[in-house]
Subunit: 125 residues, 2 copies
Amino acid sequence: MKQLQSEYQCAINLVVDVIGGKWKVFIMWNLNEGNKRFKELERSIPGITKKMLTQQLRELEHHGLVQRTVFEELPPRVEYETTELGKKLQPVLFEMCKWGDEYTEANKISMNQCWTQQDFMNSSP
Amino acid sequence: MKQLQSEYQCAINLVVDVIGGKWKVFIMWNLNEGNKRFKELERSIPGITKKMLTQQLRELEHHGLVQRTVFEELPPRVEYETTELGKKLQPVLFEMCKWGDEYTEANKISMNQCWTQQDFMNSSP
DNA sequence: AACCAAGGTTACCGAATCGTAACCTGTATG
DNA sequence: CATACAGGTTACGATTCGGTAACCTTGGTT
């Protein structure tokens, strides 16, 4: 489990520690649309494995961005949702999207799926 | 040298690739104040080594965020500045700062230096 | 002759990150 | 009896990332 430092010299580095890594922004993005079950997340994030999904969700939970709720049913049901603090990340993700779009335009990199600034606005409540 | 992918599924991941890692946001932050020489950057980013600074600057240059200018003098003088594209990152960094500040407030993490949202606004042109 | 400066490069190493595959629980279905 | 389901855990490897220390050039200073 990745631990945050007890002191940071710059808020930006804290953010990088909290949402950095290969999968976290995908997860936050998906939860942006509403509560999701483990399997739903796994299916909507192409390429992610169970292990990485669990690990990243645990870290997000531990850092207060995501809440995990277990329903005592069979087969098991576990739902994930973003916390208030997690919701406040949206402007950050939005700005990142905007810049990414400008970057791809300037550099002819292609965006082969529909996760752009526009989608962000559509998926946000 | 870290290469970007030729296709991205999400603009956010592109951003993470371009400014991720341990040092890049520090560098961008410092260059936000104006042109800097290699030694100046090295001195104002505590803990960074020559190797990491060179490496990260080269990647930033390669990805179009930073411009490197060599002056043919002795001792050598090399200046770094942010490009137009790099300048457009500022709203992203700003939002990251804002969120980081909220996070630290909610979680009693301390910010032992002066790199907060307020500073950002002061250092921006 | 020795040492300092700026702006690096290189070889090497340990740590962190990411991925693969197997395994687990308990119920239901073929 | 075998298989599938959801939601994981575990052991093991490979790759990437970051850090240390030595070395380089050219000129000036001690």
